[in-house]
Structures are given as structure tokens and as C-alpha cells.
Amino acid sequence: MSTQAADLADLLARVALRDRSAFKALYEAASPKLFAICLSLLKDRREAEDALQEVFVKIWHGADRFAPDLASPAAWLNTVTRNHAIDRLRALRSGSYTLDAAEQIADPGPDPEATAITSSEGRRIEGCMEGLMPERAEAVRLAYVEGESYLELSERYSVPLNTMRSWLRRSLIQLRNCLSP
């Protein structure tokens, strides 16, 4: 674990024990990154500020749910933030569309070449994204970082919504096979 990660893990453990000075230190260390996530997803400063405040209320009350063996502390904080902001984003536009049942997808199984590289290099998602068609890698990024919905993506790429969803689901399975053969 890096020094920064160890520090964050230590702060989270103290916050779980209701240590207010640790909470303040955690806020100072983590809030700029988490605010960037809120802004990027919600695209509205007031919404992002409200979301960040809600996220830290959740962190204060839920720091004991951080499990160091499942995620790095930074990834856990990012996830709490993303889940709150995306729930908010989708709730704001709820009713704009609903998804039909997803098309079933077949698992092509691990790509032998990718597996060989993975095991030799232990590469992470950036490398695996390069294995996707450029347009699909971009769609994954737009969905994750910018919070674009299937509807927005389908309009951007001028494809039917269900086609967009199939693209992304297939891309996800391809990424997974690359990351964890």
C-alpha cells in the first residue's frame, strides 16, 4: 500500500471511531478529487456542491464499511462519490427513458493473446482499453467519466439505444476478459 493509501486508510479507520479531526483531515485530503468527480458527472456547480456534502455525510456515517481487502481507500471514496452522483443524475432525469431487457451476450472467453500479455505485464485497464475499437473505448470513458447515459450516447453515435447498450455490454465483457483472464 502506498504512503498516501496508508494515510487515507488510517484516516478512514479513525473516522469510523468518530474522530472529528481525522474527518477534517480526510476532507482536506480527499475532497478536491471527489469534487472533481461530482462536477464531471453532474455538470452543475450547485448540484456538485450538494452532492459532495451528501457524500461526506455518508462517509462520516459509513466509514466503518470500508474494507481494505476489497478496495484501496481512494477507490472506495471514489465509488461512494460516483454512486451518489450517478443516482442523483439519473433521478434528475428519471422518466426521460427506461431500458428494455438487455440483449443476451455470448462470452467469447479470454483472448489468448491478451491473456499472455496480461500475465506477463499485469497490465491494467488503460492497456485493455486499447484493445477495444477506438469509438467503443471512447464511449466507455464518456459513460464513466462524464456520466453519459445510454440515451445520450446513442444520440452522440447515432445508433439505436439498444445497439448502444449492446456495444457497451460487449466492451465490458471484453475488458473483463482482458483484466481478469
Binding site: Y27, E49, L52, Y144, R169
Partner: protein
């Protein structure tokens, strides 16, 4: 080693990616709560995709946000607040239905229980009448008198018991507005005081009142 179908693995990925619609997210979140294998797959996806956050440069949040958070979580700690004297105000009521009629077009009343709060500033220059329809969970406000100063907005607050005031939103400069009251706030409306404060344009930063109280009045059943 997994009991999940490829479709379930993709669904877990879609949840972490964030693309699911509101209703489907709710269904998936419920499944995370009761299906440990599926929850573990979601956690794996969250970890797999997390490096994509590296693309985001940190942005310092406004300083007021920490103060708001501190006020909200550690309310017993001393903090400058225009609210200290308000605790007793719930008892000082002015339930004047006539206020609703001040502003030209009368506010429509529904068949169910209605609540009214008429807020008038001390010098009478700012007036705001609020009519809450309990059955519909909707409040209509009618704003009259002087507009807020340049670059400022009037913000409406719900004060219930000892809790920190909850923002109900920035008021229009004049005229009427309908405001749906969120489900979780509705029970609070039945024993509450409403207040207007003078805030920076767009409303109090961080959702915590900063400006002086312009007017306040209890919500009274009519």
C-alpha cells in the same frame, strides 16, 4: 470461479459504469444488498474501472462547503448562526389567512388539509405567503413587496424542531411559484416554521443559511 452468467457480469459492469437508468439502478442496488456473489462482482468492477478517474484533475471545493458540513454533522458545536433566536419563534404565530389575499390572484386551495405561513419583514417591505397542500405534497408561494438587493436572492427555509434549517429553494423575485415538497420533508411540514433569508445570488452556498433572516412565520393549519 463464479456462479454468475455473462449477462449478470455485464449488468454488474453497467452499474459500476453508471449507464443504467434510475429504475434499473434501484433494482440492481437491491440485488447488491441480498446477493453476495453479485455484490462481489460489482465491487470488482468498481475496482477495475477506478483508474479511469485518473483523468480528472482535482478541484478544490468552496470553503463554505466544509462549514456547512460541519454545521450539519456537528450541530452542537458553536457556530455563527442567524437561527439561535428562532427556537422560540414557532410559538409566535401569525396565522393570517388574509395574507394569502394580498397578492392579487388568490392561491388555489385543494380539498384536503391546507397550511399557510405568511412571512412579513419587520418593516413590511418584503412579503411571502406560502400555502401548503398536505394531500398533494405541494406548496405554492406568492412573493410580493421589494425584490432582494442586486446580486442577492431570497431563500426559503424549513425549520422543524432542533434540526438545522432545510433549504426549500430560492424564491422568484415576484409572482407565484409552485414547489413540490420532497416526500421525506412532508412530515416535517406539519409542525414547522418557514423563514426567508437574504443570500448570495443562487442561494446559500453549501445549503447552510448565511444571510440575515428577513421574515419568518409558523405554518398553520387552516
Amino acid at each position: 470461479m463464479t456462479d454468475l452468467s455473462t449477462d449478470d457480469i455485464a449488468l454488474a459492469g453497467e452499474y459500476a459504469l453508471g449507464t443504467l437508468d434510475h429504475a434499473t439502478r434501484g433494482t440492481v442496488a437491491a440485488r447488491i444488498g441480498r446477493d453476495a456473489v453479485f455484490a462481489a462482482e460489482v465491487a470488482l468492477w468498481e475496482a477495475r474501472l477506478d483508474p479511469l478517474n485518473d483523468a480528472l484533475a482535482p478541484v478544490a471545493p468552496p470553503a463554505a462547503l466544509w462549514r456547512g458540513l460541519e454545521g450539519r454533522l456537528f450541530a452542537e458545536s458553536p457556530r455563527p448562526s442567524p437561527w439561535r433566536w428562532i427556537a422560540a419563534a414557532g410559538a409566535l404565530s401569525t396565522a393570517m389567512l388574509a395574507a394569502v389575499l394580498w397578492f392579487g390572484a388568490p392561491l388555489a386551495t385543494g380539498p384536503g388539509p391546507m397550511w399557510v405561513s405568511d412571512m412579513v419583514s419587520e418593516d413590511g417591505s418584503v412579503r411571502l405567503a406560502a400555502l401548503y397542500d398536505e394531500d398533494r405534497g405541494e406548496m405554492r408561494v406568492s412573493v410580493g413587496g421589494e425584490a432582494p438587493p442586486e446580486g442577492r436572492d431570497f431563500e426559503l427555509w424549513l425549520i422543524a424542531g432542533e434540526a438545522a434549517p432545510i433549504s426549500l429553494g430560492v424564491m422568484p423575485e415576484a409572482g407565484q411559484a409552485a414547489m413540490p415538497i420532497p416526500e421525506d420533508l412532508r412530515p416535517l411540514m406539519l409542525n414547522a416554521t418557514l423563514a426567508i433569508t437574504d443570500e448570495p445570488a443562487g442561494g446559500a452556498p453549501g445549503g447552510v443559511a448565511t444571510g440575515p433572516v428577513v421574515a419568518l412565520a409558523a405554518l398553520r393549519r387552516i
